[in-house]
């Protein structure tokens, strides 16, 4: 008796989880839609907030984020001219969110870019070359990971004075070793794959193997992790601002909005809630977008 072998039912031990064979067309469609939602909704939220922070001030004239009218202080949200109200000295909340958000996004983008570039070069070099170079570079990454980067961030801002560029340098110390480790671990896996061996055996120079075969293959993992890293950077940047070591006042930032609203928290929780909500929404969106990309690219 010939048993027709269902082509989807090949059991691979240790392979990816098999889809149940009893899935209806409708379920498949729903799954596809859900996958798309998980990717596009977070991306949409991030793009919306980016547009709000960078394009809105170009289109409409927002009130100053640093100077307020004391006569228009503590206005509730939805007041004319002040969509989110004003703070205790009359500074518009929305423009503080917008200009503070610019700083957060700029710092996150710069720190992530530096982390991917520098950490990537260190990690790929260590992973691809191996031997004593790997041993030395790995110890350097270990030292950087064991070094409490907050100390560095605070010391830099205390010694050189608070500024956006110092925040970026200081936070990069968080990013570089982490990206370095991920790049190294992924490189170790890719290096052993047959197509890399084939490229090496066919006499391709090392730098070319790295550029054409290793880098394109580790990039998905590193970039999708970069989105999670960007979210974390925004939280840390807020922490520095909150402690008064970040963006110097009176420039607006989400962390300093939280810090200055803290004392009115019982009576007027919105001074803390407004920046906190933006902070959480941005980070959730970045994390979910990163997760969706990772799921799609199958990266670790």
């Amino acid at each position: 008796m010939a048993v027709p072998a269902p082509d989807t039912a090949v059991l691979v031990p240790g392979g990816p989880p098999l889809p149940s064979l009893l899935v209806s067309d409708r379920q498949v469609r729903m799954q596809r839609i859900w996958r798309a939602v998980k990717l596009w909704v977070p991306l949409g939220v991030v793009l919306f907030l980016l547009a709000m922070c960078f394009l809105l001030p170009l289109v409409v004239t927002l009130p100053s984020p640093t100077n307020g009218d004391i006569l228009a202080a503590s206005l509730p949200p939805l007041s004319p001219g002040h969509l989110l109200g004003t703070d205790t000295v009359g500074v518009d909340e929305l423009s503080q969110v917008v200009y503070g958000g610019q700083v957060s996004f700029e710092v996150a983008a710069a720190v992530t870019a530096i982390g991917i570039a520098v950490g990537g070069v260190i990690g790929v070099t260590a992973g691809y070359l191996g031997g004593w170079i790997d041993a030395v570079l790995s110890r350097v990454l270990d030292v950087l990971i064991a070094f409490p980067a907050l100390v560095l961030a605070l010391a830099v801002s205390q010694g050189l004075g608070p500024s956006e560029i110092h925040v970026i340098w200081a936070l990069s110390f968080f990013g570089v070793p982490v990206f370095g480790r991920i790049a190294r671990a992924n490189t170790l896996v890719i290096r052993e794959l047959p197509f890399v061996t084939a490229a090496r055996l066919s006499g391709t120079p090392g730098w070319r193997v790295v550029a054409r075969h290793v880098v394109p293959n580790i990039l998905p993992g590193v970039v999708s992790f970069g989105l999670l890293g960007a979210g974390l950077t925004i939280i840390l940047e807020g922490a520095l601002d909150y402690l008064g070591y970040g963006i110097p006042p009176p420039e607006a930032s989400w962390g300093s909005m939280i810090a200055s609203g803290q004392q009115y928290m019982s009576a007027e929780p919105r001074y803390v809630l407004i920046p906190s909500i933006f902070l959480v929404v941005v980070v959730v969106a970045l994390n979910m977008f990163g997760d969706a990309l990772r799921e799609r690219w199958g990266a670790q």
Partner: protein
């Protein structure tokens, strides 16, 4: 870190290698801290003496504190003292060892509280979630851990202070009595700061463990065997899958220990808890290099020891790693 090249080598050789690497890393951290603190412009003596100090007085104090010596000499002195178990003196003249002994227990108790509670809750929630992937408990756990990962600890802390401290009045809004009094005081004062520290940890642990449990249940042969034996589903999950997923959890806990000092510094300041984190912020702003070095060293030791323990536990629990067979 890989185990390549260790094939067939006895376990103690692996331990030895890891220990040597750990000592090198610790030395690197102390050197980097000293270098960073010294490279930054500072006017420690002028700051201590106030505005009216004459240049001669400043120079005299600099000489007394040894700040007129080059960086290498100062680091060498500090390092030799360290080898004798002496971490030096703070700018105010107290012994760093003594200061650490005063402030460290408060932070350690706080972190232990946060760690234990978040681990217990995370394991419970992850098991519930993994029982039925995509079920209600699973979706709840995913949403909660996403929120915990994304909420800034300082914003979350302010939120719970207002709700549980101010509105409900269950807990004090400041924890400045931590480290004094008995168990009752501890739980009253430590619960809000520990919750602020623990929410993020809980989120990471629950997320990692849930992911690992679901993967084990779907992929592993031993699960199929256990099921085929007719074991109850929860028994397969807890006795078989959870036991194996603990590997992943141990690693994550070990790797995350070091990051806690940063969070502790912020949260302790927020709650005015007299711990080492707050002391760290103070000593950085006073440019108190020996004190900063002492605190950094303690937390670097915790980080490195966490990683080392995770590695060793792995080797003890999984013979494949001990004997260096092909493992990634």
């Amino acid at each position: 870190m890989t185990t390549r090249g260790l094939a067939g080598s006895p376990a103690w050789k692996l331990v030895g290698r890891r220990l040597v690497a750990a000592v090198i890393v610790l030395w690197g951290v102390t050197f980097l801290t000293y270098a960073v603190m010294s490279a930054l412009p500072n006017d420690t003596a002028a700051g201590l003496l106030g505005l009216k100090a004459s240049p001669a007085q400043i120079a005299a104090l600099n000489r007394r504190l040894g700040l007129n010596q080059p960086f290498w000499v100062r680091y060498w002195h500090w390092f030799v003292n360290l080898l004798h178990g002496n971490l030096g003196t703070t700018l105010e003249g107290q012994s760093v060892n003594h200061e650490l002994a005063t402030y460290l227990p408060v932070t350690m108790e706080l972190l232990a509280y946060a760690l234990v509670v978040s681990l217990v809750l995370a394991v419970g929630l992850a098991v519930l979630a993994a029982r039925k992937p995509n079920g209600a408990a699973d979706r709840f756990s995913l949403a909660l851990s996403m929120l915990g990962l994304s909420a800034a600890p300082y914003a979350f802390a302010i939120f719970i202070i207002v709700v549980f401290g101010v509105q409900l009045g269950w807990f004090p809004v400041q924890s400045n009595a931590l480290g004094t009094g008995g168990v009752g005081t501890f739980f009253r004062e430590a619960t809000l700061p520990a919750a602020s520290l623990g929410f993020g940890l809980f989120a990471i642990y629950a997320r990692v463990l849930r992911g690992d449990l679901v993967e084990q249940m779907q992929r592993e042969d031993y699960i199929t065997t256990a099921r085929a034996k007719g074991l109850a589903p929860w028994r397969v999950l807890v006795r078989h899958a959870l036991r194996n997923s603990m590997f992943t959890l141990i690693t994550v806990v070990g790797l995350n220990l070091g990051a806690l000092i940063g969070a502790a510094a912020i949260i302790e300041t927020l709650f005015s808890a007299p711990g080492i984190g707050q002391e760290l912020l103070n000593s950085i702003s006073n440019h108190d290099v020996p004190m900063v070095e002492g605190i950094v060293l303690v937390f670097a030791i915790i980080t490195v020891a966490g990683n080392l323990l995770a590695d060793l536990l792995y080797a003890v629990l999984d013979p494949r790693i001990r004997y260096g067979s092909s493992s990634s």
